[in-house]
Symmetry: C2
Subunit: 176 residues, 2 copies
DNA sequence: TCAGCTTAGGTGACATGTCAACCTCGGTGG
DNA sequence: CCACCGAGGTTGACATGTCACCTAAGCTGA
């Protein structure tokens, strides 16, 4: 099992590099065409699909799988640019609704066109429907696996035990 | 054909999300176990494979596909932490060799174990050799496609380091 | 009703990434 | 020899992401 893993790791690495280049390319195209960052786009995209262009911050965080502070900072910046608004939430006084301003809606719509064009040209045409379907399946497998791994090991201790067989319980060098 | 594209775009999106979660997970595991960021790891990993643990900054930039300022900042930070050293380059007085310190080499080796374990557990075991090979093939297709697209679109040259420095044309609305 | 826990969200400090301006060295044509 | 241009790298300002901590509002049980 460990014997075959070397080439498998190499495959993973090659894939990983290609993916990074692809996403960098997509981001650059979007930024050049619309002046929006990838993060901006994710938020606008999510809100465009929400009824009334409005979504609870909590829900947005769930959809995007972002940390709450990341969302908070990002929304703050975009609100300052006039793309979003914050309105207090009816159901829960702790929460906030994030809303699209008219400018935000327009910018988002334009960004969607750009992104759609990019993806079609660089991904869909390169892969074709069959390979794309394969890819989606693979993604589903990975998601499922991730869920299981994260569940059984929330503190990620296994990876650490492998690297430090002698000391398995101290919290390690201060992260970052 | 455009009719089918909607579901294809959705597939792309699902895949994209899964990938983001996966890389986030891998980074977190690495950071928790070793205190190294993904960027730290990339550099250490590259240098571990270089003869003498030493590589020209130029070459490192090529291998990692990083902007030169990004490399410079990152190396500066890692040097401050005692993981890397900078030595003037014999062949070209403008250049620098980036070198692994003993601590850097050790940290890198540990990080490799951690990462290898993570990838094996979350990716290789989830996909199996066949699906992984598929994935590598798909990655190769995407890389090839990207290369073509970047070539026919002159404003995407930023991706390809500074192969062709020249005035950039109108960049659209002010980025960011 | 009120103490004590949990949850939604924000804040500030700091790490990282990007852009543009800058410095220095190497090569080249006069 | 030197004026000049282009390449390798650094720097500083700023955008973005993360972590730890803070506040306030909901919830639960005695």
């Amino acid at each position: 099992m460990t014997a075959t893993t070397a080439s498998e790791l190499a495959a993973w690495r090659a894939y990983s590099t290609a993916h990074d280049q692809l996403t960098a390319h997509l981001s650059r195209e979007l930024a050049r065409a619309t002046g929006l960052s990838e993060a901006d786009y994710r938020i606008l995209d999510a809100l465009l699909d929400a009824p009334g262009g409005r979504m609870r911050a909590l829900e947005l965080r769930w959809v995007l799988q972002w940390e709450k502070s990341r969302l908070s900072h990002q929304v703050g910046r975009m609100a300052r640019r006039g793309l979003l608004g914050r309105e207090s939430c009816a159901e829960d006084a702790r929460g906030w609704d994030i809303t699209l301003t008219p400018e935000g809606r327009e910018a988002g719509a334009r960004a969607r066109l750009v992104r759609e064009h990019s993806v079609r040209r660089t991904v869909l045409e390169a892969l074709g429907p069959d390979r794309l379907a394969q890819l989606a399946e693979t993604a589903a497998l990975l998601s499922a696996r991730l869920e299981r791994v994260a569940e059984e090991d929330p503190s990620c201790r296994a990876a650490r035990a492998e690297a430090f067989p002698e000391a398995s319980e101290d919290p390690g060098p201060s992260p970052r």
